[in-house]
Symmetry: C2
DNA sequence: CGTCTATTTGAGCCCCGTCAAAGGCGGTGG
DNA sequence: CCACCGCCTTTGACGGGGCTCAAATAGACG
């Protein structure tokens, strides 16, 4: 709304002006809005666009026929859903809006043009893809091995760091419009148990959480409670800045 | 050993002779062997090669500092570990040999040349990557939402179908050199509980399993017990055969 | 035929799920 | 500005699926 959109890719790469401009053009093509709790695209449908998230929160999820549901990833402004999603003819999962969202629905060909014209953008996007995949692996570890307490702590760490990387955290605190049901579906727990575990985290002084805002007084403490190792986010090795500094 | 290696990519694409030849050349470069239960590459190390698995079984895994361990994927002959693994400077997970394995450790540049020269190979490999990512999502769903019984049934379905796709299953049966500990680390259960659950699956007539061989008398039955939906394997939409038929 | 690893079994218990209901909070309309 | 409504959070009691610890048995391999 107010501020300028910072892309996820910009967490790795300092773009030159013309690169930023190319993205700005992309983000103005075919802007769509999706209401709270409606789906952007559903399992089985044929993907036609690459989505760039401009506003609001969304999630990738899969559901079993009996209604059990697993959130697989959260999307925040600046994220791209999947660069190569259109290679496959049928979605094997869904993407749903958590809040009201605005997305740019971009033709794959248009994206390919930008990639072909801007090699540094190509590399930044490739890295973004690889990190997304690494996150999916980490979520698998999270669900398979961590306790409820560690699991929720881990998820909150990840969300905070990802928001921070796109300039959406400040003063140990960030927006968190997820309900306890959303958190439950992401951690493989019930919302009842998420509730009790959040209370534990609060009473241990690791988090504050109210009215859609998360505060983490001591990130290192929360990280260690979560057994959080941020190597999978690959925040360190940055892509070299453009030849002409900005 | 005896037979010709069928690549995972060939499950999607019928290669022309010259395409197969290009792969054969790749698979002869820098062949390495890894002993049973040794690591091919470890978390933190700098990946230098793309691995093509020629013989034996391996797994991708992550471990927590206290020893808890999560298997993230299994590799069988014909699989490629990760096409773009070398883009990142430090591995965020490990790859370990389950049996003795033989791999071709291929220079990323060499792979890129083959991809540049053979667009159909490029597309087949891209699909293989996308399916691997879809599998990681499905494992997340598996761990988060399925019961122990469904979870193991699902894993066994997936393994069987993947082996079948590369010509390594026949007569409702395939090799399965995984221990119950391996299965436990893949499903987020303890080996004790895996043992009891396998007995249930056996006594329900869904599987036979002994001396490293899995038999599935009625795959549809096992699938339905697993709530298995094979859309994530994207077996349907094949890539068009080469202009000159084989 | 001995050793090492993998599988199997048993007993007890705890983490987390289920079911049900109450309480809080924000939004909306009168 | 208040009253109502729907959604979200919180709480309680209880049950069970899967874990822990420990030991016995069975296979694999030299």
């Amino acid at each position: 709304m107010g501020g300028v959109l910072k892309l996820r890719s910009e967490a790795f790469t300092r773009f030159a002006e013309e690169e930023t401009a190319a993205f700005e053009r992309l983000s103005r093509t075919n802007v769509q809005e999706v209401e709270v709790r409606r789906d952007l695209i559903r399992e089985g449908e044929n993907p036609r666009w690459v989505y760039l998230f401009l506003e609001g929160w969304a999630c990738r999820y899969k559901a079993l026929p009996d209604g059990r549901r697993q959130n697989l990833a959260f999307f925040v402004p600046g994220d791209i859903c999947d660069l190569n999603v259109c290679v496959l003819t049928a979605m094997d999962h869904s993407i749903g809006a958590i809040t009201r969202i605005r997305v740019a629905a971009i033709e794959p060909e248009l994206f390919q043009e930008v990639i072909a014209a801007h090699p540094r953008i190509a590399r930044a996007l490739q890295r973004e893809e690889l990190v997304k995949i690494a996150m999916q692996r980490e979520w698998t570890l999270n669900l398979g091995q961590r306790t409820a307490y560690e699991r929720i702590a881990h998820l909150l760490c990840e969300i905070f760091l990802r928001l921070d990387a796109v300039g959406r955290a400040a003063d140990h605190s960030c927006e968190l419009p997820l309900t306890q049901v959303d958190l439950a579906d992401a951690t493989g727990l019930t919302s009842v148990h998420v509730n009790r575990t959040l209370q534990e985290l609060r009473s241990d002084g690791l988090i504050e959480l109210k009215s859609r805002r998360l505060t983490i007084p001591d990130l290192e403490k929360l990280k260690s409670a979560a057994l959080f190792n941020d190597n999978y986010l690959h925040l360190n090795d940055e892509i070299a800045p453009p030849a002409k500094g900005d």
